[in-house]
C-alpha cells in the first residue's frame, strides 16, 4: 500500500464529499488538483534543466537550428575546465565576491552598530543610509560611470582632494588594475545598506537585560562585544553573506553598465562571460556545459554554507 501525500489526502477526505462528485474516485480528484502545478514545474524548471544537461554533451548552436547536431561526449566540459580565460573569469568573480562581501559586512556591521547606539535622529540616518539600495542597478551603474570620469567625475575629484593626486591621472574604469576595484566600490556603495539592515535586526534582537547581566558580571565593553554581540548577531550576518553571495554570483546589470566586462575582459564575471558564449557566440552546447558547471559549484558552496549556518544557529 503506497502512502503518497495524495493517498493521505484521499484517506482524510470524508466519503460524503467524494460521493457528491460522482464519476471520479477520490484519487482522481486529488490528481486533478495537483496536476497543473506539476505540469508547470516540469515545463519551466525540470525540463529546461534536463534539456540543458542534454545540450551540454552536444555541439548544438542555437543560431543554426537546422544543422545536424553531434553528440561529442564530455568535450565541452574538458574544454571549459582547461580554458585559461574561463579560469580568469572565475578568478575575477571570486575576487569580486570576496571583496564586496568583505567590505559590505565590515562597513554594514559597523554602521549598524553605530546606529544601534541610541542617539537622537538615528531613524533619519537609517533612512538616508538605505537610499542607495532603493535605486535601480542600471541607474547606479550609469551615474557611477559619470562619477568615475577622470576629468569631471566627483570620485576622482574626491580622491585627489584627499590625497593630492591629479584627478585626471587615473581612470577607475579604464585601468586594468583599478577596474576590478571600481565595480567592488559601486556594489559596496549600493548594497552595504542591505547588510546593515540585517545586522541592525540582529543587534536589536539582543535584549538589554543580557548586557545588564554582563555588566553585573564585570565584563568589559570589549568582552561584551566579543562574547555577546558578535555570537548573537552571527546568524544574521551569515544570512546577509548568503544573500549577497547569491546575488553577486549572478551579478550582471551593474557591471555591464559600468565596465561592460572591460578593459579587455578584466571585469568579465562568469555571468557576463556565459551570456557572451550563449548569445553572442551562439555556442549553445558549450554554454550549457558552462551553466551546469556553475550550477554545481554554486549548489555545492551554498549547501556547505547553509549547513554551517544551521550549526551556528543551533549553538
Amino acid at each position: 500500500m503506497s502512502d503518497t501525500p495524495i493517498d493521505r489526502v484521499a484517506k482524510a477526505t470524508p466519503p460524503s464529499v467524494a460521493s457528491k462528485i460522482r464519476g471520479l474516485s477520490d484519487r482522481a480528484i486529488a490528481w486533478l488538483f495537483v496536476l497543473p502545478t506539476i505540469f508547470l514545474l516540469l515545463a519551466v524548471n525540470i525540463f529546461p534543466l534536463i534539456w540543458t544537461i542534454n545540450l551540454s554533451f552536444t555541439n548544438f548552436r542555437a543560431n543554426r537550428p537546422n544543422r545536424e547536431v553531434d553528440y561529442i561526449g564530455l568535450r565541452n566540459y574538458e574544454r571549459i575546465l582547461t580554458d585559461e580565460d574561463i579560469w580568469l573569469t572565475m578568478q575575477a568573480t571570486a575576487h569580486f565576491l570576496f571583496w564586496t562581501i568583505f567590505f559590505q559586512v565590515l562597513i554594514g556591521f559597523t554602521l549598524a552598530w553605530l546606529i544601534n547606539r541610541k542617539f537622537k535622529g538615528n531613524d533619519l540616518w537609517t533612512t538616508l543610509i538605505v537610499l542607495p539600495m532603493m535605486l535601480s542597478p542600471a541607474v547606479v551603474g550609469n551615474f557611477w560611470t559619470f562619477l568615475y570620469q577622470p576629468q569631471i567625475g566627483l570620485f576622482n575629484y574626491g580622491i585627489s582632494f584627499l590625497t593630492g593626486i591629479d584627478p585626471s591621472s587615473f581612470q577607475m574604469i579604464g585601468d586594468v588594475t583599478l577596474a576590478p576595484w571600481s565595480i567592488v566600490i559601486v556594489d559596496t556603495w549600493m548594497w552595504t545598506p542591505f547588510v546593515m539592515l540585517i545586522c541592525l535586526a540582529g543587534l536589536r534582537s539582543i535584549p538589554d537585560y543580557i548586557y545588564e547581566a554582563a555588566e553585573i558580571d564585570r565584563a568589559s565593553q570589549w568582552r561584551q562585544f566579543w562574547t555577546i554581540t558578535i555570537p548573537m548577531v552571527l546568524p544574521f550576518l551569515m544570512l546577509a553573506v548568503l544573500f549577497r553571495g547569491i546575488e553577486n554570483f549572478k551579478m550582471f546589470d551593474l557591471v555591464v553598465q559600468l565596465t561592460g566586462g572591460g578593459p579587455g575582459s578584466i571585469t568579465e564575471l562568469t555571468s557576463i562571460n556565459l551570456k557572451r558564449e550563449a548569445f553572442e557566440k551562439w555556442r549553445t552546447g558549450y554554454a550549457s556545459a558552462y551553466a551546469i558547471i556553475l550550477f554545481v559549484t554554486v549548489f555545492g558552496l551554498a549547501s556547505i554554507y547553509v549547513k554551517a549556518l544551521n550549526k551556528v544557529k543551533e549553538r
Partner: protein
C-alpha cells in the same frame, strides 16, 4: 564582603515614584529580606544598589564609600535577576563560568572548573551542564542564575526572588543551602521574596516596603510580633492577621480603633460564640473560617478536631494588637 548603606535613596520613573526616601543599613554578613507587594520597589532598590539604575536623590555606600558614581563592575555586586537573564547562546557551563572568565581575574581554568562544578552540585544542575541556557525549565534557569552569582566573591549578593519558580521540596532544600553558603562565606545578602517562610527563617533583618517607602526594618520576630502598623502586620502571618473593630471585646486601650488577631491571639473554648462557615484541611493543620457578629475570622485548629460547618465555637482574644484609626499600632 561589606556593609551596604542606603541613605535617603529615591528613584522615580516619570510619574511613578518607585523608591521614596529609603534609609537602610545592611550590616556586613547579614541577610536582609525585602518584603512588599508587587510594584513596591523591591527590584528597583536592588538595581540602584547594583548601579544599573541611577538614583534621583540620596546615596548608596558600600564598605563605607559612596559608590553612586561607580559603574556596576566597580561596585562588584552579584545579582540574581528576577527574570533570570541568562546568556541564551551559551551552555549552562559557560553561563556559570562567565563571571570567572574575566581576563582581569586571571583565574586558572581548573580553578574555574572546580568552582563551577561545586556550585552546580549544590544547585542540582550538574546533569544539565551542556544544555543551552534556552533548553532549560524555568526552575533550572533560575538555579543557573543563582549559580552565576554564587561563583563570585562580591561585596554583596542581591537576589530577586531567587527561589520563586522552584517546587516546594527543592525550594525548602535550597533555602537551607543558600543560608548555609551565606553563613559559611560570611556574605552580605539582600534578598527579595514573597515567601513567608524564607523571610522568617533565613533573614537576620526584614525590611517592609510600601509604595517605595521603607515602613519598618527589624528582625523577623520584631516585624512579626511588633508591627508598627496594620500594613506591616498584614505582610507576615499565614493565615493573615484578622482585623476587627477594637470594641468587639472588652479591654481595648483608649484611642484604639482596630484590633489585630493572629491565630495565636485567639483562644478557643471561651468568650463570644462564632459560627463555623468553612473548614480547610491543610494536612498538618486545619483552617477554620468563622463568622463573628458579621465579621470574618480565620484561625487554626488541631488537625484532629471534629468541628463541622454550622457548629459554634466560642473565641476570645489573648494579647491582641491594637491600632488607631489611621492604622498605627498603639500597643
Amino acid at each position: 564582603m561589606s556593609e551596604v548603606r542606603l541613605s535617603n535613596l529615591s528613584k522615580a520613573f516619570g510619574e511613578t515614584i518607585a523608591v521614596d526616601d529609603v534609609t537602610m543599613t545592611i550590616p556586613n554578613g547579614a541577610l536582609v529580606t525585602l518584603l512588599g507587594p508587587t510594584g513596591a520597589g523591591k527590584t528597583t532598590i536592588l538595581r540602584l544598589i547594583s548601579g544599573l539604575e541611577q538614583p534621583e536623590g540620596g546615596d548608596v555606600s558600600i564598605g563605607g564609600r559612596s559608590v553612586v558614581d561607580d559603574t556596576p563592575a566597580q561596585r562588584n555586586v552579584a545579582m540574581v535577576f528576577q527574570q533570570y537573564s541568562l546568556y541564551p547562546h551559551m551552555s549552562v557551563q559557560d553561563n556559570l563560568a562567565f563571571p570567572l572568565r574575566s581576563p582581569l581575574l586571571k583565574t586558572p581554568a581548573e580553578e574555574i572548573e572546580r568552582k563551577v562544578s561545586e556550585i552546580a552540585e549544590v544547585l542540582r544542575i550538574s546533569h544539565k551542564m551542556n544544555n543551552k541556557a534556552t533548553e532549560l525549565s524555568g526552575g533550572e534557569m533560575q538555579r543557573v542564575s543563582i549559580g552565576r552569582a554564587l561563583v563570585r566573591e562580591p561585596t554583596i549578593f542581591l537576589m530577586d526572588e531567587p527561589l520563586s519558580s522552584l517546587d516546594a521540596k527543592l525550594r525548602s532544600d535550597l533555602r537551607i543551602e543558600l543560608k548555609r553558603i551565606q553563613e559559611n562565606l560570611g556574605a552580605t545578602l539582600l534578598y527579595v521574596t514573597h515567601d513567608q517562610i524564607e523571610a522568617m527563617t533565613m533573614s537576620t533583618h526584614v525590611g517592609v516596603l510600601d509604595h517605595g517607602r521603607l515602613v519598618q526594618f527589624g528582625t523577623p520576630r520584631e516585624i512579626y510580633e511588633n508591627p508598627v502598623n496594620l500594613y506591616v502586620a498584614g505582610r507576615l502571618g499565614q493565615p493573615r492577621i484578622n482585623v476587627l473593630p477594637a470594641d468587639m471585646f472588652a479591654g481595648a486601650p483608649a484611642g484604639a480603633d482596630k484590633m489585630g488577631l493572629r491565630p495565636e491571639h485567639i483562644q478557643q473554648g471561651e468568650g463570644k460564640g462564632s459560627m463555623v462557615k468553612r473548614i480547610e484541611h491543610l494536612g498538618d493543620q486545619i483552617r477554620l473560617h468563622l463568622t463573628l457578629d458579621g465579621h470574618d475570622v480565620v484561625t487554626l485548629s488541631e488537625p484532629h478536631s471534629d468541628l463541622e460547618p454550622g457548629d459554634t465555637v466560642a473565641i476570645q482574644p489573648r494579647n491582641p494588637l491594637f491600632f488607631d484609626a489611621s492604622g498605627v499600632r498603639i500597643t
